[in-house]
Symmetry: C2
Subunit: 356 residues, 2 copies
Amino acid sequence: VTVAQVGEFGLINRLATRLESTRPKNLRVGIGDDAAAWLPTPGTLTVATTDALVEGVHFDLATTSWCDLGWKALAENVSDIAAMGCQPRYALIALGAHQDQPVADLESLYDGLAECAEAYGCAVVGGDVVYAPCVVIQVTLVGESQPTHDQGSDPALLRRSAARPGDTLAVTGPLGASAAGLRLLAASAPRLTSRRSQVEDALVAAHCRPQPRVTAGLALVDAGVRCAIDVSDGLVADVGHLCELSGVDAEIEVDRVPIHPAAATRFAEEAREMALSGGEDYELICAAPEEVLERASEMLRMRGEPPLLRIGSVVAQAGPEPSVRVRDAAGLLVPIGRAGYQHFDRSVPSSVRGLP
Amino acid sequence: VTVAQVGEFGLINRLATRLESTRPKNLRVGIGDDAAAWLPTPGTLTVATTDALVEGVHFDLATTSWCDLGWKALAENVSDIAAMGCQPRYALIALGAHQDQPVADLESLYDGLAECAEAYGCAVVGGDVVYAPCVVIQVTLVGESQPTHDQGSDPALLRRSAARPGDTLAVTGPLGASAAGLRLLAASAPRLTSRRSQVEDALVAAHCRPQPRVTAGLALVDAGVRCAIDVSDGLVADVGHLCELSGVDAEIEVDRVPIHPAAATRFAEEAREMALSGGEDYELICAAPEEVLERASEMLRMRGEPPLLRIGSVVAQAGPEPSVRVRDAAGLLVPIGRAGYQHFDRSVPSSVRGLP
């Protein structure tokens, strides 16, 4: 059965049934009306983010299942909300697809969306489905901050702009697994999974089913951290964004950058570059004074999360532009091959996101 | 200068400057962080809607300027918020474009977005820009209901599902101008505007710069109306959506359907079909008991809005499915050529939305 055979409203009804399990208590209007409606939690800030994934640019249906694609499209946005120190709540999905697309594929996509929504305590409450010459999935995710304890002031958030010289830089977990997984996917025959080792399976899963750090983000805010960003473009690039918005420089000690053990096992020396520049790990990078990070690590431990891993420090801006320097144990600058992922800066426009 | 030449972050900076005029007082985080953040107005419901526009499907760059496209992409979503009886507030834009797209085109697009945002009291607070093989503009718009007067109950909204047998059906203004404007655009040489009459200019403007009815939607809620939908797919189709969600039938008196005078002047007999099935007029259709509609017309008059125009009535569902019947002055059924616009049900996938 294709999309053209069921029509717009038939498709919406079929997709809506995949999402029924996630209806939250504050929701007043769900799918089917002109807009979704909900009651905001008193004392919270509302946060909202949007991301678009385009077939042939951000994903390749030869190596990505529809269900994984649904998970990942929502997970990217969940990570943005986590990086604000907030709880994801309400998602809207705009889907562009071919007329001759099998409906079962789109149902799998929505199964993946629903699985991710359930895992992170949010719900898909609305959207739009349209014809498009390639598959486009666009997710908007609305979240809420922790409620404020003090009526006179706003609730706290994690901002890119709040890094200060003297802060320590830390990450919430090891890096490079997603880039390693993408390398394996790109090298393998389409969907040929039978010959993969356990290590390889773990790397592919890290790429296809990323686990954003919502609990960690909430713990960081509670501990008094005020500066964070998620690792989406790559560690060095994302630290760079943080520096730009904060007007500071950063020094990363390359030997302290935590390399995901499966990536190190499978790719040896190459794994370091994956950890520095690979992107899509969706760990959080944060910057705060050392005593705040100690409190944050304790808070994370109490909530069953791994401790923070220090990777460097924030220093005053030395040149005309904020910059990131990566140094080895001897203090020498390490040249970094890529500044991370940027849209539009690609020599092969239809290639899949990742390492060259 | 093309998109590829300025890169992702250069483009974001250029587009963000087009939006600076719209920063609202409740906004805490705008463009540049992982997510936008704002303080919801106490006592309100949050509403959210999303719509995607795809090049070659929903618009044709040969007949639509970039600036009009920006206006229209946001206006469609403003209309959905108006149809909930709410005030539009915060928009997020996901834009897909070619690498070789001139940046000036996208700046014009954002000028149109900013003009519409200013006209309706909302702001563009975030988004995403990505490479895509065709231009895709996806707008998510968040709005707020009127605050509740009664702490124990939710604020009132306009719903599709609230029509009851005995209600009168009414619209907030005349119909058919947008479809007439699209007809003129499709027939004319690209951007050849010099030979158009004043009447034709008005029709093209109705199509390219639709004026959603936010003030009217707020007045309807205040007057006690609880059921509405906007005219996006076409009058008969949209009354049909209202019937489906409410579990009722509707009777439309064809002689009472208000035809836009410019459409009637230019297209004579054809204008009636445009008013019934053309779509994209973005007037509101509402259903309520007669005494509520009288109060609503008075409320609209006090706010400088035109009065409601009655077009028919809501009756009990007669058959197995909710249905819409259009009758002439003698009470005979009028056959309707199209059931309104549906995505995916099109014989020519790349044609532009509108009348066949």
